[in-house]
């Protein structure tokens, strides 16, 4: 059975207009998620992971970001970038959900949890009858599924009365009260402690395995995605540099950046730390015309500086954007 592409992003270029000129952050990103698939999007701060997802949800409109000509974003075969208002609303209400990095700013501090979650159910197609009691039941079930005790009390509470971990779980529950084929989790554990983060990741894994949705997990932590996703996209300076099934990526990283990233992670086995990756990310205002990682790469040659390397399939399902991959 061939898996249908749920989210298909092709040649996405996003530039930010500033007083200094254009910051050319995303420069031709290709990213796709199939049905019932769990995908990790890994990269360090500023590499453009959140921007990519926001572009796919058309959340960049009204900001200084512009999606350039030639970019394509399709959801279940439908062109997202040319959707009209009604289609866009339907897309965001009934097909995709996004959990953001910071649960405090995602929740409105002056409304109770119940009011906010009710808002989401009401405007989605989840309870077509419009019956309030039915909607409340949906909410209670969602809150229970994220392991929060006493949903009735929580629904009457305000966000500041809950801990960070609880707020993040409420954000996940909110994503569940509406129909959703694609769940995008943007660094859900960053603001949280490691034990709470582990709990949240368990919940996400369970939700996707038991339900019908796909998951995109955005993070800078390779360790977090190792247990959670089937396929990993590694991103650097606005470009996808490597794509591989999870196990394959850890055993056989082919891009120098991935290699450097893996080596920089402190190990539980001890043995001291590596030297990290020498150098700094390129200036987006004046990005190099060749490979964006060239100035930090220990395998760099003259050819690397001339043109952008093409993406090559080095083994089934394993792609690298590097001319020195052999």
């Amino acid at each position: 059975m061939s898996k249908e592409k749920l989210l298909d992003i092709q040649d996405l270029r996003v530039w930010f207009k500033t007083y200094r000129g254009y910051s050319k952050v995303l420069d031709g990103v290709n990213f796709h998620v199939n049905q019932k698939e769990k995908v990790g999007l890994v990269g360090e701060s500023g590499c453009g992971k959140t921007t990519t997802m926001k572009a796919a949800l058309r959340l960049l409109e009204g900001t200084s970001a512009s999606i350039r000509e030639g970019s394509k974003v399709q959801f279940s075969g439908q062109d997202v970038l040319s959707m009209d208002n009604d289609e866009l609303l339907d897309y965001r209400r009934n097909h995709v959900s996004m959990i953001s990095q910071s649960p405090m700013s995602a929740l409105n501090p002056v409304f109770t949890i119940g009011e906010q979650m009710m808002d989401v159910v009401k405007y989605s197609d989840r309870v077509k009858s419009g019956n309030t009691k039915e909607m409340e039941e949906v909410i209670v079930e969602a809150v229970n599924s994220v392991m929060i005790p006493d949903p009735a009390r929580i629904m009457k509470s305000y966000p500041h009365q809950l801990s960070g971990g609880m707020r993040q779980r409420i954000c996940i529950a909110t994503a569940l009260v509406k129909p959703c084929e694609l769940l995008i989790a943007d660094e859900p554990g960053t603001a949280l402690d490691v034990t709470v983060e582990a709990q949240i990741n368990d919940i996400l894994r369970k939700l996707v395995d038991e339900g019908d949705s796909s998951l995109v997990m955005i993070t800078h932590s390779l360790g977090v995605v190792r247990d959670l996703v089937d396929k990993i996209y590694v991103m650097y300076a606005g470009e996808i540099v490597e794509i591989a099934p999870t196990k394959e990526l850890f055993h056989n990283p082919r891009h120098p950046y991935t290699e450097g990233l893996l080596a920089s992670v402190p190990r539980l086995t001890g043995g001291g730390l590596s030297a990290g990756i020498y150098g700094y990310v390129p200036d987006y205002f004046d990005p190099p015309s060749g490979c964006r990682f060239a100035n930090r790469c220990k395998y760099c040659t003259d050819d690397c500086l001339k043109e952008k390397p093409p993406m090559v399939e080095v083994s089934p399902g394993h792609f690298v954007t590097c001319i020195r991959w052999q």
């Binding site: 971990g165 609880m166 490691v194 800078h220 190792r226 992670v265 190990r267 539980l268 590596s274």
Partner: protein, 320 residues
């Protein structure tokens, strides 16, 4: 003979929080830091680790208990003198807010050099260049402002500032938590190199157990203001005794199978973390512990030396 550079004796730091409520941030801590060691202080948010850091540095006056640094005793009414500040320094978690954005690097580094009269005025610039070289920053950084440099570089400036006074002891409060992993390695290696070169003693505060594994000699685990476990590093990772330590270690995301094998069997976190204003009676971990017994709900366990140098505060180990 190992000498204690810093000793915390029954240290208490409580903050008032509304009517009749108190945040018991640091709750009766006994801890010593041996000269030349790196003591890892580990715990999640709200455990009290930064509060200990600030109290030791004199930024807070402790509610009760004594702090003994290099032979000098500080009680709750004592202020730190200039000599203390020369010998003890701190590097904060967020270099974005710990460096004054209106001052360039030269101004930032001049202050400790002037205050502690490290070199005569006309040699300050040269000394600054020397210190920049020590932290491997280019000399043109002297005239840069914090806004113009990246997070990792800012933290290097914060470290440079800390070593200006030629201290003996540095508190590193989550020095790399706000940085990407590729820069983290560089900063940590820098810190460890400095330690060897200048014979420094560190308290390394972090929530990242993988980092601690690679830098510290001993590990102290904190939970809601108390120390649960204190142990030499290798022993801690080989055999964590406290249920909370096991929970922490089993939750760390790792990147290889060898590390996976080293982790204790997964201990899922059950229950919620109590609010520090409302710490439960008995052992503060009883709301999340899978080994909880009736005794845990009533009696707060005492710290006990279970193996040489390995202390645990848990009823599982307090009965013979």
């Amino acid at each position: 003979m190992s000498k204690s550079l810093l000793e915390l004796k029954k240290l208490v730091m409580h903050f008032p929080a509304g009517k009749n409520q108190v945040v018991r941030a640091v709750d009766n801590i006994d801890l010593s830091v041996i000269e030349g060691e790196v003591l890892g202080l580990v715990g999640e948010s709200g455990s009290g680790k930064s509060t200990i850091a600030y109290t030791v540095m004199g930024m807070y006056n402790q509610t009760d208990g004594e702090i003994v640094f290099d032979g000098d005793v500080y009680t709750s009414s004592d202020k730190r003198n200039k000599d203390f500040h020369r010998k003890a320094q701190i590097v904060f978690q967020d270099p974005g807010s710990s460096l004054n954005p209106y001052q360039d690097v030269r101004t930032i580094l001049s202050l400790p050099l002037k205050v502690h009269k490290i070199v005569p005025r006309n040699e300050i610039d040269n000394k600054i260049l020397e210190i920049l070289e020590t932290v491997e920053l280019p000399s043109n950084f002297m005239y840069k402002s914090p806004n113009a440099i990246g997070g990792g570089e800012k933290q290097l400036v914060a470290i440079a500032r800390a070593i200006c006074s030629d201290p003996k002891f540095i508190v590193l409060d989550e020095p790399t938590s706000s940085l990407d992993v590729s820069i983290q390695a560089k900063i940590i290696n820098m810190l460890m190199g400095l330690k060897e070169k200048n014979n420094l003693t560190y308290i390394f505060i972090t929530h990242d157990l993988a980092v601690i594994r690679n830098v510290s000699n001993r590990v102290a685990v904190m939970y809601l203001g108390k120390i649960c476990e204190l142990s030499p590093t290798e022993e801690f990772y080989a055999e964590p005794l406290h249920p909370y330590s096991q929970m922490l270690l089993s939750a760390i995301p790792v990147v290889s199978e060898e590390e996976e094998k080293l982790k204790p069997a997964e201990v899922k976190s059950v229950g919620e973390v109590p609010s520090p204003v409302d710490i439960p009676l008995g052992c503060s971990f009883n709301t999340r512990c899978k080994y909880v017994q009736p005794k845990c709900l009533e009696v707060d366990p005492e710290m006990k030396e279970v193996k040489p140098g390995h202390f645990v505060r848990c009823h599982l180990y307090s009965d013979e």
